[in-house]
Every structure is written in C-alpha cells, then in structure tokens.
C-alpha cells in the first residue's frame, strides 16, 4: 500500500443541503483512505461554507476570490496560500472555477502545485452549448439545446419547433423547468442576472436520471467508472439518495466520449433514461459530483485515484463494479466557535483545524 503524505487543496467547500458542492465529499474520500497521510486544505468562497470548518476532513480552510474577479486575483491568492500551506496538489471541484484554473495551469504548476485537468480545448468541448457534438461522439441521443440571448425567444420558440416544458439553464449552474413562455422568460432573466450570458434552453426529456462519474487518464481511457440512479432529489433536482448500478450502454457511451476527447481529469456524465431504456445525454460536468463518496462505498475511491494521477503514481486495477449500494444524504449541524468564524471573515482562513 502506498503512503501519500501530500498536501491537497480541495475547492467547493460549500454544502447547502439542497445543492451541495462536491468539495466536502472529495475531501472525505481522500481523508478516509488508509493510503493518505497528508494534509487537506479546504477552499471556499464564503465564510459560511461548511467545509471550511469540518476538522474531520480539512486541516485548514481558506477563502478564494470569486472566479469573476479574474485570473490575477486567483493567482495571487494561490501564491499566498501556497507560501502558507505548501500545496502539492490542487483539486478544483466547481464548474465556474475550471476555465480560470485550466488557463492558469502552467503558472500554477510553476508554483509547484500539481493539477490533473483537461486542456482548455477539452474543457470547451464539453460546454453545455456543444452537447449535440458530444452526444454524436458518444453515440447517444441528446435533447435539442440552444443558446438564447433575449427573453423574446420564449414567446416565438414554438414557431421554431420547440415545445413546452423547456429547461432553462445557466452556462455553469442552475436549471429551471418552464411550462409557459412567461415562466421561461422569468427563468431566463433570473439565470442571466446570476450567471450571465449565454443562457441555454434545452428540450425537456421525460425519464429517470442516471449519472456516471469517472476519471479520464488523458490518453483516452476511462478509469474507475461509478454509475448511479437517483432515488430521491432535492427541490433543485440534486441527488439526495441514489443506488449504484452498472449498465453496459451507459458505460460504452461514456467511454466513447472520454476516448474521443482524450479527457484528462474527473468528469460526471448526466443522462436521462426513457421508459424504453434509451439514454439522452443531458450534461457533462468537468469535475467530481457531490455524490462522489459513493465511489468509496463501491471500493473505487476516485478522488484518491485522481490524487495518484496528479502525483504520477501507479493506479492499481479497480475491483469489479459493485451494484446495489445506496447512499442517503443527510444534513448535520457543525458547532463552530466564533473565533474560527472570525478568523475566516477577518483573515480569510483558518489553520490547524485538527488541533
């Protein structure tokens, strides 16, 4: 068994129960591995991000500047953090931060921080507005999707062959189901105000949602796939409980996708399965999902795999896919001393959480 004494910085420590970020789960996967003996640095964007204070998973917690503040602010923050924490590997977990971190990868690596991420071109390929191309690469169907820049579209879209209900989506986050033109226009304005343009519209697909997560090795191979059927969702459609499955068709489509774009890094493939068992590609996320702890449940610790790849360590063969393992998420209150909160608010961070 390896010993990994690395310092790993993990972003996405937000964890509101209706839409948690993946960071806490990623940190938990790594922390609980008997192979890991290093430190975990939790990174968030808000002083109330719960993961910053979870001493069982993070040795320290720090705030980053929001991605909208630009590359220079992020780079400066990482430099300061690296001087303090001596980071070996950075695992970004949020869609919105991926473009900046991928762009800055050479400069981040110059600091001695390793990442295992796609190239900027690979990242662009999986943009939501290029889903149709990706579906063709994967050999599966996908619902019509279109970039929209004005709300007037929703009042005449039926002339172009669209029919309600539609799903209105932000480029990075958020999706709202609209049953009428007025609802769609409201969703459009809300999403544009929060996440900017373009806003995407996707034809609603009826069926059950299935997700696959894995790591692409950058040479066309998909490693350690874990598939899950959502059993219960939050009001925002996020998995609240799920069960591990194995479907060869979903495996084949995802493996074809990873091979076609030579994906490097974690990914999540979201599909809908209709009553005839046919899949429709809904989305591809360039990161681990919030339910990634299920990978530990099925003995395929994917965040640990990613860490090993970033450190250029060998990956052992994965055990056979294990089906019928459930996760049921729950919310819990963490007690936080005011001094810890004060430290995050005033200094942007909190060290020695585990002491």
């Amino acid at each position: 068994m390896n010993d990994i004494p690395a310092t790993v910085a993990v972003t996405g420590m937000n964890a509101k129960p209706d839409n948690p970020g993946p960071g806490v789960a990623v940190a938990r996967c790594i922390r609980e591995s008997p192979e890991f003996s290093g430190k975990i640095v939790g990174l968030g964007y808000d002083a109330l991000d719960p993961g910053l204070y979870l001493k069982q998973y993070c040795d320290s917690g720090h705030l980053l500047p929001y991605p909208s503040t630009g590359d220079e602010a992020l780079l400066n923050a990482l430099k300061i953090l690296n001087e303090r924490e001596n980071i070996d590997v950075l695992i970004p977990c949020l869609d919105a931060e991926l473009p900046g971190i991928v762009r800055l990868r050479p400069l981040i690596e110059e600091m001695g921080i390793k990442v295992f991420l796609p190239t900027p071109e690979q990242l662009r390929l999986r943009n939501k507005d290029r889903l149709t191309e990706l579906a063709q690469l994967a050999g599966i169907q996908c619902p019509d999707i279109k970039s929209v820049t004005h709300a007037g579209f929703f009042y005449k879209c039926q002339d172009e062959g669209w029919s309600y209900p539609l799903v209105v989506k932000g480029l990075f986050y958020d999706a709202k189901i609209a049953y009428t033109a007025d609802e769609a226009a409201d969703a459009f304005r809300h999403i544009a105000a929060e996440w900017g343009y373009p806003v995407l519209v996707q034809q609603m697909v009826k069926g059950e949602e299935y997700n696959l997560t894995a790591v692409g090795d950058g040479h066309g191979n998909m490693l350690g796939e874990v598939m899950m059927k959502k059993m219960a969702v939050t009001d925002k459609g996020k998995a609240w409980s799920g069960v591990s499955i194995f479907d060869q068709a979903l495996y084949d489509a995802s493996a074809a996708l990873v091979k076609a774009i030579q994906w490097r890094g974690p990914l999540e493939v979201e599909v809908m399965r209709d009553k005839h068992g046919q899949y429709q590609l809904i989305e591809i996320n360039p990161r681990f999902p919030a339910w990634i702890y299920l990978s530990v449940g099925v003995n395929r610790n994917l965040p640990l795999t990613l860490l090993k790849l970033a450190l250029d360590q060998d990956i052992e063969p994965f055990p056979e896919p294990q089906t019928g393992i459930l996760f049921i998420r729950y919310a819990i209150e963490n007690i936080v001393p005011m001094a810890d909160f004060e430290s995050v608010v005033m200094s942007g961070g909190l060290s020695n959480l585990s002491q």
Binding site: E208, M228, K229, V243, I245, D247, R273, K275, G277
Partner: protein, 91 residues
Amino acid sequence: MVNSNNEAPAIPSADTLRRLAISESGFVFDPVSGHNFTVNDTGLTILRSLQHEQDFTHLLQELQQEYDANPSDIERDVIEFIGMLREFVGE
C-alpha cells in the same frame, strides 16, 4: 393456453430476468435500471420460473401443478404479473 386475444404476453428476456437480485423476502433489485420492487410468495415463484422458463404455455402448466386454482385465474394473474414486470425492468 393463452390470453383472450390468443397471444402469449411478451415475457422480459431471460437475460434481463437473470440479472435481477432476488432475495428470499421477495425484495427484487435490478442492477442495471436501479429499480427495486417487492413481490409476494406467489410472485416470487412466478419470477423464479420466468428466469428459466420463457414459454408461456409451459409456465402455466408448471404453475397449475403447483397451485390449486382455476387455470383461467392463474393465466389472468400471470399475464398481469408479466405486464408489471415488463414495466419494472423497462422492456
């Protein structure tokens, strides 16, 4: 012995049915679709029969030997059960 339309119901394929994890309690899990459902003792017997017997007429004969019930009742119940099963396994 077939239904009133003189057509045997479409039975989910043996491969599909053999992939099901069936417990003694009647809890059934499909590892491909992720669906789960429960069956009673009779359903459990029919499901296990269907895993190796795909001929509807033979299946009814097997069940008639096992159960002391009107053959038309058995046929009706089995057709209904197969219909539900098809929905559960997505065929």
